[in-house]
Amino acid sequence: MALLQIAEPGLSLDPHQRKLAVGIDLGTTNSLVASVRNGVAETLDDEQGAHILPSIVHYAEGKKPLVGAKAAQHATQDPYNTIASIKRLMGRSAADALQLGEHLPYKFVESDTAMPYLRTAAGDLSPVQISADILKSLVARAEASLGGELEGAVITVPAYFDDAQRQATKDAAQIAGVNVLRLLNEPTAAAVAYGLDQQDKGVVAVYDLGGGTFDISILRLTQGVFEVLATGGDSALGGDDFDHALAQWLMEQAGDQVFDASSSRELLGISRYAKEQLTERVELEVALPGGDTTLTVTREQFDALCKPLVSKTIRACKRALKDAGVALDEIQDVVMVGGSTRVPLVQSSVGEFFKREPHIDIDPDRVVAIGAAIQADILAGNKPDSELLLLDVLPLSLGLETMGGLVEKVIHRNTSIPVARAQEFTTYQDGQTAMLVHVLQGERELVDHCRSLARFELRGIPPMAAGAAHIRVTFQVDADGLLNVAAKELSTGVESAIQVKPSYGLSDSEITRMLQESYSNAADDREARSLREQQVEADRLVSALRNAIAEDGELLSAQELKDLNIEIDVLEKLAQGSSVAAIEAGVEHLAQVSDFFASRRMDRSIQTALQGQSVDIFDPVSNNRSEKEKG
């Protein structure tokens, strides 16, 4: 008869292992990590109880980078090594970066690499590596808070991010050692967080104005399914621009005062503070760096400075509605996301345009991370019965360069993803044997006005008359919005396929190198961990021996006892040091010299056992040794 297994009460034989998954909002100004615990999605805090991690990294020579508030403290004294708003440079070319970085005290490495590198005390770093440092800090927080290794993460990106920016985000995750379950568009995440899927059906607009990016998405929900109808925005417009506009104005008011990198940074900080104050107040006094000049800033003045920027976002809303084929009065809810939606001018402008009071009940800073956490929980397989499903779209059209520097669109913006499209092209000259495939993203007609994603060559086309060859180029966009391109000459079957690595993105070998570097940085962490392990080992041996002496001290002669106590004290001292090797050797040595004592205790235990008396035969010393032998 088979024996039935009965589990210990409270423990099941096959415990349903809940997988640890998080949602990460990797923001321009602030980043957050959230997870679903006990059925509730919540942002996770650090040891100080802070949920928001400022997206700032400080680099110093030979030290681990500081991330967050600790890094921010260095912003004024050490501006070039304190990197903020790095998201603005993600997936950008060196040339774009120079232009975008104009306002920020970045020191770009002068080189001819397509990818921008920033010079820091810790070496030349790409935006991808800097973002990876922010991700690592968030993952460490999550693992400490959830008590285990993460299965994966959903990382949010602005809906309007192009392929290069998405790829850069995924590369950063790879360098940080994070398994990406999905790249999720921020507005979609926000809609999920609001639980709008609980409604039966309706059309929702999500207005997301973060530190450096703006997104507008129009979604239709039907019984748990979120269908993104259209998305639009500007991946280089955000609250930072409000700060810059105000800083610029303050500089103008300051007359001939000269600002260097440090005081410019300080002025930006002052502007940001003024912006935040002006959400509640109608005017305030600001003291300029140096303290000689004080100026009054009114909300009216601030609104006037921001008006053109806000109008730009409203125009994008209009276009998104048109793309979605939705009339203004069909919009049931308007959701506000991103810290910059706290600005009163933004709230009033959006409310006016949609003729509807926007939702602001969930903290606009946290709402994206919370939505991402809900999605991560589902993707990890923790909620098999969930009705929730997100159907997203391609934010910007994808195309190829044709003759005359024109772009032929292959997949139009707002097409549901995943999607595949093929387009056939032909040769331009008689006997042409190779063809350059140039992949672009954007809405404009000229190559120069679109973002160049990749170039590759299809070679070995048999010489034919112009127009006789048939080259089919296939674009495949996956559920993360990432593109793969393949080209094939149809009459001969000559084929060429690439994973689109943006022209100025990281190559696979660069990622490998950065991964190795991050491992060697991790060597410090490993060193620290093995030190702690050895210290614990030594403590265990010391206290086990002291316990044994207290119990069975009579087994030792006075001399033996004295010698052993000395040896124990030596190891105890050693364990307070920081040499892993010395502690390890000390443990080994003490185990050896106390061996005779262990044998004597063992003999006595056996004798006692043979006498039929119950004793504790647990011997910490020999137990410890057998563990070592196993290891």
Binding site: T222, V225, E227, R319, K322, A380, L389, S416
Partner: protein, 177 residues
């Protein structure tokens, strides 16, 4: 997913130009629930790849049936008539003349006193043409007159392009104002 099924079969719809769009959307969501990669994210790589393939096909099918011009082209394709970029059916001269005039009007609209009103007027003309040609197409298809149906589609391709250009002109004006 059975990708050998035609798009109408996939959505369990009666093939035809007039479509139950409600049913199309409902069935689309139903199939997405079953096949979307997010539903298979915790499974192996092979399942995930299959999910991407299935939803790629599904999105293509949905897009084709949802857009009237693509739907019309697909209906002809099912009957063995490809209506790609290459012209096969000669279009009547009068139609081409009218298209040229409309395009000229589009260029001139930008310089008009009230360009938005001019564009609006043009759009209405184009929409009227569109409606007319769709009913032509529908009738021809019902009568199995594939040649007439193809001519209607050729015309609709012109009209469709014109509508896109009107929209682009409006976007440009929006930026300026």
């Amino acid at each position: 997913m059975d990708i050998s099924k035609n798009f109408f079969e996939l959505f369990e719809l009666v093939p035809g130009f007039d479509l139950n769009t409600q049913q199309l959307s409902e069935r689309y969501r139903e199939l997405q629930r079953e096949y979307h990669p997010d539903r298979h994210a915790h499974k192996g790589e092979r399942d995930q790849r299959l999910a991407v393939q299935a939803t790629t096909h599904l999105n293509e099918a949905f897009e084709t049936l949802k857009q009237p011009l693509k739907r019309a082209q697909y209906l002809l394709k099912l009957r063995g008539v490809e209506t790609g970029e290459e012209a096969r059916q000669q279009l009547p001269g009068a139609f081409l003349m009218q298209q040229m005039e409309l395009r000229e009007a589009l260029v001139e609209a930008g310089e008009a006193g009230d360009p938005f009103a001019e564009l609006e007027e043009l759009e209405q003309q184009a929409r009227a043409l569109e409606t007319q040609e769709y009913s032509q197409f529908n009738a021809a298809l019902a009568a199995d007159d594939l040649e007439t149906a193809e001519v209607a589609i050729r015309k609709l391709q012109f009209v469709n392009k014109l509508l896109h250009e009107i929209e682009a002109a409006e976007d440009r004006l929006d930026e300026e104002y």
